[in-house]
């Protein structure tokens, strides 16, 4: 590289060239380092998003999460099934991580009914016997927690897909989201309709061939292998359909709304 001094067209000495190039490159380096530091400070101290359907995350990070969701939803397919295992591999001691929304001492599974909100004022009530009369689907799969642990578990119940067909709720599935919540409404999950209708999504009433225990979400819980455990709501009280994101307990606490696997 030839560096010519524009003033008198006299070529610089090697020492001058060295000094010049060292100065400019290091000036650039320090300027970029300072810009990086400032950029990081901006992101790290960015204000939290407004409390809404999602909350508890820095504004730019939430925007990034939502964009990343859109990118990865392109890869979602009903043909991508979670790996299943033989029953013998299923854990006997199924891990209980949390009972948020299911701490009511007075809750009586005997009086339980599932409410499906079909429209304003039209609520379908279904009892457990009716659900048990539908075709039963079993699944033994690796349940994955957002914390990082996983466990092979055995669940059985009605496929969400079969449930929709049987109760002729197909029209409602033209909406974009399904919302589920516990009977007291304190724990909620929101699911994109594609994930809810995935062939391995199950409304489960059995675990390890026995009726669900309270700690595991009796009498009916969601098992959705294409999502982290946080979306696998225990004890479903109400199901709703909407075109807006329904409330979601952990999305209000800084987690990704989609949380898909």
């Amino acid at each position: 590289m030839e560096i010519i001094d524009p003033e008198n067209k006299k070529e610089l000495t090697v020492d001058q060239k060295i000094k010049r190039r060292t100065f400019f490159s290091f000036a650039t380096f320090f300027a970029m380092s300072a810009a990086t530091y400032e950029g990081w400070n901006w992101l790290y101290s960015a204000p939290d998003e407004a409390n809404g359907i999602t909350a508890g995350s820095r504004k730019p990070l939430r925007a990034a999460m939502n964009k990343t969701e859109l990118f990865f939803r392109r890869f979602f397919s009903d043909n991508h099934l979670v790996k299943t295992y033989p029953k013998s591999m299923a854990a006997r001691n199924v891990r209980i991580n949390s009972n948020i929304g299911n701490e009511d001492e007075n809750f009586n599974p005997e009086n339980w009914q599932l409410s499906v909100v079909k429209s304003k004022g039209e609520v379908l009530k279904i009892n457990l016997e009716a659900l048990k009369a539908l075709p039963k689907t079993e699944i033994v799969f690796d349940f994955k927690c957002v914390e990082g642990w996983d466990q092979i578990q055995h669940w059985a119940g009605v496929r969400f897909l079969d449930f929709i067909k049987h109760y002729k709720l197909d029209d409602l599935t033209s909406m974009q989201y399904v919302g589920l919540e516990t009977p007291n409404g304190e724990y909620q999950v929101g699911l994109d309709i594609e994930s809810a209708l995935h062939p391995q999504t199950i409304l489960a009433y059995e675990m390890n061939d026995a009726p669900l225990q309270t700690a595991h979400g009796a009498p009916l819980r969601l098992i959705i292998p294409v999502k982290y455990g946080i979306k696998n709501l225990k004890c479903i009280g109400k199901i709703t359909f909407s075109n807006q994101r329904p409330r979601d307990y952990w999305a209000e606490r800084g987690y990704d709304y989609y949380s898909g696997l």
Partner: protein, 241 residues
């Protein structure tokens, strides 16, 4: 006589320095995630030698109870980490720079001699081009590791949609272990890298920022060398006074 010898192209310098803060953020946010299920240890015959990580490290870096935050940072900066890596690899391929970087047949034998030389056990080091045998192996391995991190990360991130990737890495748990191990690998690489840079000295360090090195050459030899250099390789240009 001082001669300016071009060493690192602009693209290599930029990708190198862009990677540094990104990888730092990825390792830090990865720690925030790992903490939520920190089950890895070095255990041999029931004796645990090390638990990843001791409480003191978590406290020092303010790691506990920041899983959601860690995921949010990790899944944003993964994009920059991946893109920077892809850009670097494409650059090395199209510029021909890969010839200086990819290990040769003799590199694996020579790397030992380089190591012995660096440890002051052996007096002479084998002759080298831009990078010595050990550097070729290290700088190629780190790129393979980078791709390993991206792919094992993707396997753990979307184990259902990318089930084939998860299968390729031996399942969810093994993919997670590999992802973690690669990170530990970066930390070792970093330590050795820093020590080597310090030993190599200012002229070498400056070249990763300014792009050139200063070499001292006899005028007559330089003229001949320059002539040959210009004919034989397009990678190195000498500016002679």
């Amino acid at each position: 006589m001082k001669v300016i010898k071009e060493k690192h192209s602009l693209a290599m310098r930029w990708t190198h320095w862009v990677n540094f803060p990104i990888l730092t953020i990825m390792i830090w946010s990865g720690m925030l995630i790992y903490w939520a299920n920190d089950t890895y240890t070095i255990t041999i015959f029931d004796h645990t030698f090390y638990h990843f990580f001791p409480e003191s490290i978590y406290t020092f870096f303010n790691i506990p109870y920041r899983l959601a935050e860690g995921m949010a940072f990790h899944f944003l900066f993964m994009w920059f980490f991946t893109l920077n890596g892809i850009f670097y690899v494409l650059y090395t391929i199209f510029s021909g720079e890969w010839r200086n970087l990819v290990p040769q047949k003799k590199s694996f034998k020579e790397a030992w001699l380089v190591l012995l030389h660096d440890l002051h056990i052996r007096k002479t080091a084998p002759p080298q081009d831009k990078y010595n045998a050990a550097q070729r192996i290290a700088y190629t391995a780190i790129i393979v590791m980078g791709f390993g991190s991206v792919l094992t990360g993707l396997a753990v991130y979307k184990p259902v949609q990318f089930y084939w990737l998860c299968w390729f890495f031996g399942g969810y748990n093994l993919a997670r272990i590999l992802h973690f191990s690669l990170t530990i690998g970066y930390l070792f690489f970093f330590i050795i890298h820093i020590v080597q840079v310090i030993i190599a000295g200012w002229n070498n360090f400056r070249s990763v920022i300014s792009g050139f090195e200063i070499v001292i050459k006899e005028p007559t030899n330089v003229a001949v060398l320059t002539h040959e250099d210009k004919n034989s390789s397009g990678n190195e240009n000498l500016v002679i006074e």
